[in-house]
Symmetry: C2
Subunit: 346 residues, 2 copies
DNA sequence: CTGAAAGCGCTTACAG
DNA sequence: CTGAAAGCGCTTACAG
């Protein structure tokens, strides 16, 4: 089957190629009647402008890029990215933008991908995930003047646009909730320490624990995998002053932690309360169901996509705050059991 | 920053644009010394050929497409697609191919996406997931002559290339394993009934149960969600002749089933054995860890990608069988407890 | 409101 | 082995 071109449409409509182009792009230069006739013919013969020709004539590539820098094992198990992508897609496809996805091994490879995309004019803009402190990607994207939206923050985004959610506030709320239940020994299994949002959560955790006079507010780092979640939990639970509550930086580690606790003969929530970030259907599949911090990730992705399209359109874009994760109490949290309550601080 | 073009490279190298093109594409027409010099200059000034210009000159778009037709909720929770994408990417990026991802609402939308991609010349080929019986996408792709690799089968792929895995054999192995343990009442919670691989599994299940003289080999359909897995399990376990073993078509439903069993006071594996498809890290996070059918999904994706690139290159490609899922016995399966053994058939 | 033409940045026959 | 040129299918000033 031969692909129809703009010339085919022009011939059948009895107009010039220019007229077809104007009609298709909603530009002035054709009468309303002609425009309608041209559109009908394009539709009839299944014409869509060649994205290559369009991009080459100085218009946009009508594509944006997303590079993901996580090993396959972790990518698969974290619902976050797929949910984010779903939300991004919903917004993009409504405006006929394509999403170009690339899985990369490390930051250097990711930067190389940005440079290549830019040189190839393959994308009009990019999303940046997993922001780090002094992130090397930020100055590169600024230098290339490639429109970008950082998914994360606040801060450390240079002059790039960004969307973020206040994890620190959510963490404080969680600690206060646990303290209200009577917990005094709270620990945390954190995500990758080099990620900014991990750092922000850790700082908020230490601050609120200090403010509330809680001792031993330790954060054990991890790579988000179930194995590390289990290992961290074992370490925490076998320490002399074991915590009565643990906050996990993702759902998978929380579920692993729940297993470990049960394995060690500790009742949840009787002996140990558990809170998971990234509330997902998984949290409700286990017993007891997990108290979790959740928010609408597809909506977050949609927000990021709108922001990026605005940046590409040349609109002034800055920092956009999305909703803060909210706590959904479920069966995995309760007041600490009297018999196992930690000794009162003195 | 101005993007370098082939003319910039040609000028600095003191050769024609044609020579640069030949050098870059490994074509004859330039001496080895000149080629090396040109490549060095391209590297130095960060030149990559414009994908649009390249695509427009009749070369390929250097991109392939993947349309996913599942709701966000399900996409996120199934590690399958992200693992598949990881494997696909590994192969594509090694050959500088981009992956264009699109989430669609239904088959009609998916077909529209294929037609648009084709008309726009946006991709050189596509992957087709979730094959159905009499799948409407197959004749469309044949008509468009858009290179495609169906991920699924066997059969029902028309003249399209495909990669598949023998789910029927894996299912038979699983049933035989359960029967060897002493189970006589085996049920199954299946995936979406309209998907071909669900159908093939169901047929294999019914066949092997008939061959082995097992009664009540029922398959309850589902949408792969934890909720439906839980509902189906409740229904199965409260039937008068409840099964002593259940096979689930994915890991999430198996975990939900485990929860339901424990909720209903049934011991796993004492009162109920559980087997999950799609062995994933999740299966080892729960208690007891789940006996599961697994295979290397990133490798499957890589295989599919190689196959698609071969099809795009015009090589004759057909049907490729990938490894069959293998059963990993873990704590969720055991001989049925004597007291709860089903009455002997007579 | 419409038509003829240049130009985007490549690839690829075609001469030399 | 190299250079000059056509052409891919659009968009967009520029004349009419």
């Amino acid at each position: 089957m031969k692909r129809p071109t703009i010339a085919d449409v022009a011939r059948r409509a009895g107009v010039s190629k220019g007229a077809v182009s104007y009609a298709l792009n909603g530009q002035p230069g054709v009468s309303e009647a002609t425009r309608r006739r041209i559109l009908a013919i394009a539709e009839e013969i299944g014409f869509s402008p060649s994205s290559a020709a369009r991009a080459l004539s100085g218009a946009t590539a009508k594509a944006v890029g997303l590079a993901l820098c996580r090993p396959a094992r972790i990518l698969g198990i974290e619902p976050f990215f797929m949910e984010l992508i779903s939300g991004v897609e919903a917004e993009l496809s409504a405006r006929s933008y394509a999403l170009t996805l690339q899985v990369v091994a490390d930051q250097a490879a990711e930067i190389a991908v940005y440079r290549r995309w830019w040189a190839e004019r393959r994308v009009d803009g990019v999303f940046v995930c997993d922001l780090r402190l002094d992130d090397a990607r930020v100055p590169v994207l600024e230098e290339l003047r490639l429109p970008a939206v950082v998914i994360g923050g606040p801060g450390h985004t240079g002059t790039l646009a960004s969307v973020w959610s206040d994890d620190a506030a959510a963490l404080v709320e969680t600690v206060e909730y646990l303290v209200a239940l009577g917990h005094r020994r709270i620990a945390r299994v954190g995500g990758l320490p080099e990620l900014l949002h991990t750092r922000l959560r850790t700082e908020a955790f230490e601050r609120v624990c200090r403010d509330l006079g809680l001792a031993g507010a330790v954060t054990v780092p991890s790579d988000y995998s179930g194995e590390e979640g289990a290992r961290a939990t074992r370490r925490l639970l076998s320490s002399p002053n074991r915590p009565s509550a643990v906050i996990y930086d993702n759902d998978v580690m929380a579920i692993a932690g729940l297993s470990v606790a049960q394995e060690m003969g500790l009742a949840v929530p009787g002996d140990l309360s558990i809170v998971a970030w990234d509330d997902s259907p998984l949290c409700q599949l286990v017993h007891p169901p997990l108290t979790a911090l959740g928010r609408d990730i597809p909506a977050y992705g949609a927000q990021a996509a709108r922001h990026l399209l605005a940046a590409i359109a040349g609109e002034p874009v800055g920092t956009l705050q999305d909703e803060t994760a909210h706590l959904t109490p479920r069966g995995s949290t309760a007041p600490p059991r009297g018999s196992t309550a930690p000794p009162r601080e003195r």
